[in-house]
Every structure is written in C-alpha cells, then in structure tokens.
C-alpha cells in the first residue's frame, strides 16, 4: 500500500496547484460579473458604489472594444488586489477623457488577454462611472520596460494607454510591458 502514497501525494499537489491557478481565473471572471452590477449602479446614481462590502476599490469605467467583442470593468488603483478583479486605473494618471494620459493596466492572461487581438485603428469605448462616454482610437503600440514606459502624464491632449505584460505567452513575468496607445476622438455625455 505505501507505494500508492507517493502518487496520491503527487496528485494532491497537482490538484491544489491546478485549483490555485483556476481560482485566479474564476476570481477574475466572477469579480467582473459583480463589478458589472456595481458599475451600472454607479452610472445610475452617479456615486461611488463598492462591488462588495469589503472591497478596497471601486469601478471607475467600462472599457469596450466592439470589433472583437471585448469588455471589462476598470477599477480604481492598480494594486495587486485590484488587478485580480479587473483592469486597474493607475492612480497618478488622469481620468479617461480628461487632459492627460489615462493608464489602465491588467493581467495579460485574464482581463487584457484580448489586447493581443486589438489592432491599430480599432475603436476603444470608455464609459466612465459618471456616465460620460468617450471614444478612443488605437494609434500605436510598443513594448517597453516597466520603469521606462515613456508615458508622459503631463501631456495636454486626452489620451488612453492600455498596458499589460509582454510577451503574451510567457509563463513567468518579466520586466517588459506591452502598451497600446489611443487618442480621444469623440465624446458624448
């Protein structure tokens, strides 16, 4: 019988690891469902609505790329906890649609998995939690180091940057980031 213990232990570790990985995806998916509801309420009431009572962040915008049918609710702050649930709006950047660069970052294997499919020229729609709607057009992409993004928060135009880890299919995380740059082309309130 003891000889069956080692495969069992192995299987158990395997299941735990797999479950742990799957949990990350499950959390990412479930959080978006809850966030969707909180965001709709935010837009309706114009107030900050927390997706669940103990959340340390709140939805600030919905980002959509209609061509590929991708959509996600963006959270305030890009802490690890926030990024587990949705794309995060990096705090020291502008709000989308305001003067300056708004930077949204998300995991390459969950919420921003779709980023690889976004082509230059695609329209990116951002609905803010105050109900204002902005349309951006993707105009360039780049691969940069995380600490040398070249993003200048001081620019005068309204711009949007979506950032995620690069390369998309790598297994471990590295210092490189993929950034997709978009410029505001239209607003309706």
């Amino acid at each position: 019988m003891p000889r069956f213990i080692s495969p069992l232990v192995l299987a158990l570790i395997g299941i735990i690891l797999f479950g742990d990985g799957a949990y990350i995806h499950a959390k990412a998916w479930l959080a978006q469902v809850l966030l969707e509801r909180a965001f709709d309420k935010s837009v309706a009431t114009g107030e900050v609505v927390r997706p669940w009572s103990w959340a340390d962040t709140w939805p600030v915008a919905r980002i959509e790329v209609r061509r590929i049918g991708a959509s996600a609710i963006v959270l305030e702050g890009a802490s690890g906890q926030a990024l587990a649930f949705g794309p995060g709006h990096i705090r020291q950047t502008a709000d989308a649609g305001e003067r300056g660069v708004a930077v949204y970052a998300a995991h390459r294997d969950t919420h921003f998995r779709f980023l690889r499919n976004v082509a230059i020229g695609d329209l990116i729609d951002v609905t803010r939690s105050d109900g204002k709607h902005f349309r951006f057009r993707a105009d360039s992409s780049a691969v940069v180091r995380f600490d040398a993004s070249g993003i200048d928060p001081a620019i005068r135009a309204a711009e949007l940057v979506l950032a995620t880890c690069w390369p998309f299919d790598a297994v471990v995380s590295g210092p490189e980031r993929y950034i997709l740059h978009a410029t505001l082309i239209g607003t309706d309130e």
């Binding site: 080692s6 309706a44 587990a84 930077v103 993004s149 928060p153």
Partner: protein
Amino acid sequence: MDTYDTTDSNEHPWLGRLIVVGLFLLAQGIAVMLVAFVALLVSLEPGWSATTEQASLLQPGDAKSGTLLLKEDRAYTEAIRLGIDVDITVSGPTLRARVTQIFRNPTKDWAEATYVYPLPAGGAVDSLKMVVGNRVIVGDIKERQQARVIYEEARGAGQKAALTEQERPNIFTNSVANIGPGETVLVQIEYQEPVHQSGNEYSLRLPLVVGPRYNPAPIVQSVDFRNDGSGWGATNSDPVPDRDRISPPVLDPARNAPVNPTSITIRLNAGFALGEVKSPHHNVKVESPDNTTRIVTLADGAVPADRDFELTWKPAAAKAPSVGLFRERVGDTDYLLAFVTPPAAEQATQKPRPREVIFVIDNSGSMGGTSIVQAKASLTYALSRLQPTDRFNVIRFDDTMDVLFPASVAADAERVGEATSFVSALQARGGTEMVPAMRAALTDKLGDAGMVRQVVFLTDGAIGNEQQLFETITAMRGRSRVFMVGIGSAPNTYLMTRAAELGRGAFTHIGSVEQIEERMRGLFAKLENPAVTGLSAKFSEAKADVTPTIIPDVYRDEPLVLAAKLDTLAGSVEIKGRVGDRPWSVTLPLQNAAEGKGLSKLWAKRKIDDAEVARTLREMTPEDSDKAILALALDHQIVTRLTSLVAVDKTPSRPEGEPLKLSELPINLPAGWDFAKVFGERQQVPAQLRERHADARSQSATRRPTPAATDTIRLPKTATSAELKMTAGVILILLAMILFVFNRRQSLLTDAA
C-alpha cells in the same frame, strides 16, 4: 489472470525494465521540478505573484526606507525654498495679519510652487499681493473656477501668477507659477480676525502648520433616498473628496532639518492698560513703548513652522472690561461689533444640576508623542473633578473604538479608579475614525431629563472628513452638549470651533502639559455652571442684520460676540437672556461705540460661517447657501470655499518652450508628533493612509500639467501565475496517474512472482 500476466512479463522481459528505468528518471525529474518550483514560489513570491504595484513616486510615508530617502533628500536640497514672515497688528477687538511667503527658486529650471498652509478658522482673507522684483501685482477676488482658469492661462502663457484657494476654512493653498531660475517671488496675503476672549484673558492663535490628516477610505455608508418616493437614492461617496489637496508632503523630522523658517512680529494695541503678555509655546521678546502697547517678536529669530503660535494678554486691572462696542463705516453702511460678558451666576443661589458626562479620547497615531500625554493627563484631571452625584462614561477611539461601561455609571471612587487606569493604559496608534466615536458619545441611553448631558471630546482633530463629523453632531445631538478640547501643537481649530458650535458647547485648547490644569479648570467652570441661555439682541432704532442670527448659549467666562450691519448708527441695542433661572439684560447706546478696523469683513465672514452652518443643519439648501456665500464673498472680497484670489503679472517671463517644473513644498511634522506613529505603522494604519499617500499624487496629471518628479509612469506587474500553476498542476496529475498505473502493475507482477 495470473497466467496471463506471467506470460506477458515472460514474453517482454525488457519492457518491465524499460518502464522501471523510465519511471525512475521521470520521478527524479519530478522531484527536481518540485524542488525548483517550491524554490521559485518562495524566492520570487513578491515578484511573480503579480500583485506588487511599483512604488511610483516619492511618498511621505515611504521616507522610512533608505533608497527613497535619498530621493527625498535630493528633492529637499534642490527644491524651492520658502520663508514666511508674519506681521500682526492687534487693534482692540480685532487683528489684521499680513502673511508674506517668500518663494525662492535656487534651481536651474522654471518652477511652479504650491504651499498648503493653515490660517485661523475665523480669519477673513481679503488681500493677495504678488511682488516680483519691484513690481507689486494686486490680486482680484474671483469665483473659484474662474480664478483657476485665469491662473492656468497665465501659467501656460509664461506669466507669473499667484492663486490663493481655500481648502477648509483653516487650510489654504497658495500656488505660484513661473518662478524663474534663481528668482524670488513674494506672495503676501492679509486677513482680519476677531481677538479671542475668555474670562480675563485675551488671546490670538496663529497656526503655522497643517497637521497630517487622517482621511477615511471611501465606504458606502448610507443611502440618501430622494424625497419623491421614487425609490431612487444616492449613496454617500468619498468622505474626503479633496484628500490630495490637503495632504502636502511631510518631512520626517528625524531625517530632515526643519523647513519653512518663520518670523513673527506682533504689534499689540490692546486699548487698555496691559498686564501680563506671554506666548506659551514660543520664546518671545516683549517691548513696551507705553502701557497699552506691546511689540512682540520671536526671541530666537526665525523658527520652523511646526506648531501654532499663541499670544495671550491680560489687562492690568484685576478685571477685564465686561463690555466692548466698536463700529466701522464702510460706504454708507455702519458695522458694529459688540462683546458682552454676562455676569456669572452666584453659586449659592444655584444648586448645580446633576450631570452625565461622556469623555471621548482620541488615541490615534497622530496623537503620538506629547499629545497623548496631554490628553491622558487632561482626562485624568477631568475624572478627578467628577462629583459622586454625576454619571459618566469613557470612550476611546482610533480606527477602532472601546466604550468603557455599557451605559453611564455613577462616579463613585471605584468606577472613577477603573476609568483612570483605563485611560492611563492608552497608547497612540492607528487611524482616526472620529464619526463612530461621536455617534457612540451622542447616543443618549439614559434619557434622564433631570440630568445635564455633556460630551467632552479630546482630540487633535487631524481628520479630513470634518463635514461628516458635523453632520453626525447635527443629526444626533439631541439634548447633549459637545465640548471640544483641542490637544497638541497644531490642532484643527476649525473642527473644534464648528463642532462646539453645532453641539451648542464650548471649546478650549491645550498646547502643553503646563496648560492642562488652567485650561481644564476653565472648561469645568463652563461645565459646572449654568449657561446664559435664551439670548436675543434688539436694536431700538437701527434696522440691523445681526450675526449670529440665533445667538448661542454663552458659557461661564465667555463673552457674547455680536456683529451687525446697520442702516443708521443711532439708538441702542438691548441684549436679553437668562443667567441660570434669572432674567438678565443690558442696554448699550450705539453712540458710545469706538472706532474699530475691518469690522465689515468680520461681519461678512461671520455671515458666511452662518450660511455654512445653516447648510449643515439643512436649514438652507446647498444652492441657497452657496448663493448667499458667493454674494457676500464677492461683495467683501473674501476668500471662501467658492471664491479665490488671483494675481497675474501681465509681463510674460518664461520664454516659450522652456519647461515648467512643479514643486509641492513640504511641511514640517507638527512639534511633538511622532512620525512613525502617523506614517510608519503600516499594520495599524492600513489601506487608508497608504491610499492617501498614493492619492496625494494621484491627480497630478489633471491638476497640474507639468509635475516635476514624474518622468514617466511606472507600470504594474500584469501577469498572473495562473497558467504556470495550472500547467504544473496538470503535469503533476498526469505523473501521479502514470505512477499509479505503474505501481499497480508492479504489485501485480510481484504477486505473480
């Protein structure tokens, strides 16, 4: 079965061996992989758990770590320097202060500087001047948004500009754009303020530093349903929407020399023969040109702006005058300022009513250092003053809260002893969640109408959500009276005065251990003696616009202060009220009023405060109060929540194309505060403070187009270990299955053998 297996193994003897070898190698491979995997998880956890946000910018709270300090040091040595000069002239009941901020730019870049500084909450800021070289540019009062636009346009056009904005009635921000390399720009603001009087003592308080505030994280706490019954409502949003505007960078005193040297001169014309003049927190030099005048300067020259300056003076006569009446004529309107100290009720005729006293003590991190010592000593003194007929309770709070007794208990020796040891064991740490503590204190469990209910609240008031506290007091005050005791070197005076006003109580400051006994005795005189109630003022001839509209009750030794706008200075004013259960009245003929200075501003400022209070009390809609405030502010040139002063030098100075760097001027930590307690303790001061630091820079892009420190945005880690874990998991499961099959086979083989 047996036969078959045996035959099988006999037929392929090499196969079994091959499987054994193969599986041995595989097992070894797995072992190596497992070890490597565990090692990877352990060593790289922070890196690859993908949750670490890169520390993007220098934040005050991070100054603990060595690497960032280097940055801070550099920022400090290269940054814009600020010097402050304060010149105050006291003329009888009012004072006028001129605060000159000297911005010097020793760097090689064009700079924009912002400085967050405190002023007295009762001060009316009405003048802004910018001095560039030998040119003086006088600022105009404008609606806040408009002023900001003017300032930003000037900044963009390379013109020198200065902007004074109010963040709180006692916190202001000065922004100065386009200070050239090596240049010095002077920004001068002036304000008018009434002199504070308590009993025999007159005083002025000049706050010099904004204590770091605790800003509660946004929590959806309640829902305001619309009145139309539609079922739609709005949830409460961020309690401190402007948190980044009131959180300037704070220097760790252990690592930086104090900044912002301040010199102070006070010309004191009391209007009566002066007795003792002293400053409890600073060494001062007092000159006496004559017996009603003093000139007070700092004995040691300039001091760092790290604590409030306080000056107190007493008349030479044993008793201060109990009545003061002053007038000022502006255009064809007369303004009147009256001080009346009602007589004290005689103890013998008044049997004091039994009291229920709730003591609330703030033991948050901002109270660390000397403040908590003062607060504990004050509370211990207060406990010793309780009578056996009184009932009492003690509440302590930081970001948690404890109520000592389930309900108020009789103040017998045993209970008081218990409370005293509870208090002496308190330590300062954590955040400052003041609202729940105030709620608990105002919850009237006994409901005994025969008793006077008093809440004594000891705090430094270092919170950013003042308005929430005011709303709590308004909603829950019932029959309770709130007495605020401001503790420490730089208490939030606005919070103290407004909370006491809304709570129909009084406030006092304790700035050092030496003041405890005197000030607490004064407070107890107010607590133990009946207030002067039912006060009203009636003008015999003049049509008067009096403020405060509803005159609050006046406590022992406090003067009643009235400001009025009159159409004609004739007849008299009669002030009526009740001292205990006896009627009291006094008539002041207006002709006897002495000439005063800046009374119109004080009247307007007081009217603005009334409108703010009415808004909090929901006696006025926000729209109406905003309209009233705006009209008064524009009329009397006063900086308010809705109006700012802006000055623009039309001569362009910064050449086009030259970049402009922003520097947010750092402030000192208030004296006696413990930096680690406020910023250091991550465990006790969780998300909120971190969040606030992050937020301090968060709107840099929207607020200021050219921040200095930000070269580029650092991007967070954005890969999860999900795929890696799942792949490893699948491999392990497969291996386990192979091993299992192999083992089973082995056992069957063995059995057969």
